[in-house]
Amino acid sequence: MIKNILNLGDAALYCDFGSDVNQEINSNVIKYFYHIKKLNLKGITNLTPSYNKLIISYDLNIHSFLSLKKKIENIEIKENNKLEKNLIEIPVCCDNNFALDIKRVENKLKLKSEIILEKFFSKNYFCYMTGFVAGMPFLGDLNQEMRLKRLETPRVKVPKGSVGITEQFCNIYTFETPGGWNILGNTPQNIFDTSNQTNPNLVNPGDTIKFYRITLDQYNEIKR
C-alpha cells in the first residue's frame, strides 16, 4: 500500500501512499500508523499521518535510513484489517458573534446562510488527520457546492473553538492561532484536553464527526 519510501532529511522516512486525497488512501495511512505505533519499535520518535503520507521520525543513534526503510517495507497489513471508528457529536453555535465569515461564504457560494448551515450540518465528516497545533482535526468531505478557498489574508487570531471550512475540508481551532479558514461557528466543547495525559484528543484520525447546531443559550450553558 505504500507506493514509495523516501527520506525527509536524515532522520525521517517519508512514506508516500499516493497523491490523491480520499478516505480510501487516508484509511491506509491510518492503518499503517496504528500498526507501527503498536509495534513500539525502539528508536522511532514520532509518527505523523496525513492525507496521503506517513512520516516516521527516528533516532539517528539507533537507525539509519536504509535499515529502517527495509523494516517498514517488510510490514504486512491485511487489506481487510478494519479501522476502529468512533462517532463523535460536537455542538456548534452559529450566532453572528461566532460565524465570522458567513457573509463572505454567502457571497462566494451564492447561497443563503441558512442553506449553507443546513448543508453543513446535514453531513457526517471523516477525520483525516490531527495536528498543525495540538488536537486540531482535519475533517472532510464537504459537498461540491460548499467548497471555497481560504481567506485572502489570514486572520492573525482565530478564536479557540472556531469551526471553519476551506476546499473540501473543515476543522476546529483547538487553540487561538493565526489561520485562514472560513469560520461558520464556534464549539463550546473542549477538543484538546491538556490535563489528559493518555489521550488528550477528542477526535482522532479515522473517527467520524457529526456536528449539531445549538443556540447561544445552550452554548453558554455548556461553557459554564
Binding site: 532529511g9 514520532n46 496525513s50 496521503n52 498543525f132 497545533v133 495525559q197
Partner: protein, 318 residues
C-alpha cells in the same frame, strides 16, 4: 514546606523567552504536539554533564538575555553553558562569570545573566533538580501550545524556581570550550525540490540568505533571492520535522525549529542535517547563511562525528 527548608531562586528579571527545557517529548506529532526540548542539544548535554546531573534533567533556557536570579537556601553550585556574559553578585562583590565553569552560591547571592554573545540560546542549571511538573514525559515548556510547567508560559518577574534536590557530593568542575560556530548550513534536498525552477535551485545553493527577526523556537524566517515555484505554491498538508525548509507562497524560505507546527502545506526544498541543527539555532537575526548540499549517507556519518565530538568534550570535563 517550611520556608527555612526551602531552596529557591526568585526571578528579579525574567529575561527573554526563559523556559524550562529537557530533551523534549516524543511520539506526539500525530496529535499536533512537537518535540520541543532544548534548542541546542549539545549545550544542554554539556551543562548536565558539568553539573553531574541525569542526562535528561531540566535546565533553564533563555534567548539573547537571561534572567536575573536571587538565591535563597543552603550552599549550591550553578553553571551556565553557551556563549554567555553573566555577573555573580555576592556580599564580597561582583565578579564576571565564565560559561562551562561551576560557581558556588550562598543564601542571598545573585546571578545576573546579561546576554548571549553572537548567539541566541544559553542554559542555566544547578547541581540538583528543579521542582517541575512533567507533561507527556517532559518538562519542556511549549509556549505556543501552552504545554509544560508554569502553565506552559515563559518565566515572568517574581516567579520562584523551586529546587527539590541538591547533590551534596558534588565537586566543582569545568570545561575549556569556546563553542563552535558555523556559516554553511548543510542540507539534504527535499521531497519537493523539483517544484522550483532550475535557476532558483541554483540560487538556493549559491547565494546567501539573511536570518530575519521573525525567528523563534517555532521557526526561522530567511530573506534572500526569491525562490520561484513552477509547480504549485501549496502541497496537500503533510507532516513536518525540525530542520525542514519550506518555501512560502512569497518565495521565502522558512526553517522549522523545535516547537514547529506538526503539519504544513508549503513545498519542502531541503532539510537541515541533524549534525548542523544545534549550530543553526544559535545563529542570530542579521546573520547570513549559505546552504550546502550533502548526500544522506554523508549526513548520517556527519551526525556520528558530531556526537563523538560532543562525547569527547564531555570526557574533557574536569
Amino acid at each position: 514546606m517550611k520556608s527555612k527548608d526551602r531552596n529557591y531562586f526568585k526571578i528579579l528579571r525574567a529575561g527573554i523567552n526563559t523556559t524550562y527545557q529537557d530533551l523534549g517529548r516524543n511520539n506526539l506529532y500525530h496529535i499536533g504536539i512537537p518535540f520541543s526540548g532544548a534548542m541546542d542539544k549539545r549545550n544542554f548535554q554539556l551543562l548536565n554533564s558539568l553539573l553531574q546531573n541525569d542526562y535528561n534533567s531540566p535546565v533553564i533556557e533563555f534567548a539573547y538575555q537571561g534572567p536575573h536570579l536571587k538565591y535563597f537556601g543552603k550552599d549550591i553550585f550553578f553553571c551556565i553553558s553557551g556563549n554567555v556574559s553573566f555577573k555573580i553578585i555576592t556580599k564580597e562583590g561582583v565578579i564576571d562569570g565564565n560559561s562551562y565553569q561551576c560557581y558556588l552560591l550562598k543564601n542571598g547571592d545573585e546571578v545576573d545573566i546579561r546576554s548571549t554573545n553572537k548567539s541566541v540560546y544559553g542554559y542555566f542549571s544547578i547541581n540538583g533538580t528543579f521542582g517541575v511538573d512533567y507533561y507527556w514525559g517532559s518538562c519542556s515548556i511549549n509556549t505556543q501550545a501552552q504545554i509544560g510547567p508554569n502553565n506552559g508560559n515563559k518565566f515572568s518577574k517574581d516567579l520562584e524556581i523551586e529546587i527539590i534536590d541538591i547533590n551534596n557530593s558534588f565537586n566543582k568542575r569545568k570545561l575549556d570550550y569556546l563553542g563552535s560556530t558555523i556559516e554553511n548550513i548543510r542540507v539534504i534536498k527535499g521531497t519537493n525540490y523539483d517544484y522550483f525552477s532550475e535557476s532558483s535551485q541554483n540560487k538556493f545553493f549559491k547565494e546567501s540568505f539573511k536570518i530575519t527577526k521573525l525567528s523563534d523556537r517555532m521557526g526561522m524566517r530567511l530573506e534572500g533571492p526569491k525562490i520561484e515555484n513552477i509547480v504549485d505554491p501549496n502541497i496537500k498538508s503533510e507532516g513536518l520535522v525540525k530542520g525542514v525548509i519550506q518555501i512560502t507562497s512569497a518565495g521565502d524560505p522558512i526553517i522549522m525549529l523545535s516547537d514547529h507546527g506538526t503539519i504544513g502545506g508549503y513545498p519542502k526544498i531541503a532539510t537541515v542535517i541533524s549534525a548542523d541543527y544545534d549550530r543553526l539555532v544559535q545563529l542570530t537575526p542579521g546573520s547570513n547563511i549559505k546552504f550546502k548540499d550533502v548526500y544522506l549517507e554523508d549526513a548520517e556519518t556527519l551526525y556520528k562525528l558530531y556526537q563523538m565530538e560532543t562525547n569527547n568534550l564531555i570526557s574533557q570535563i574536569k
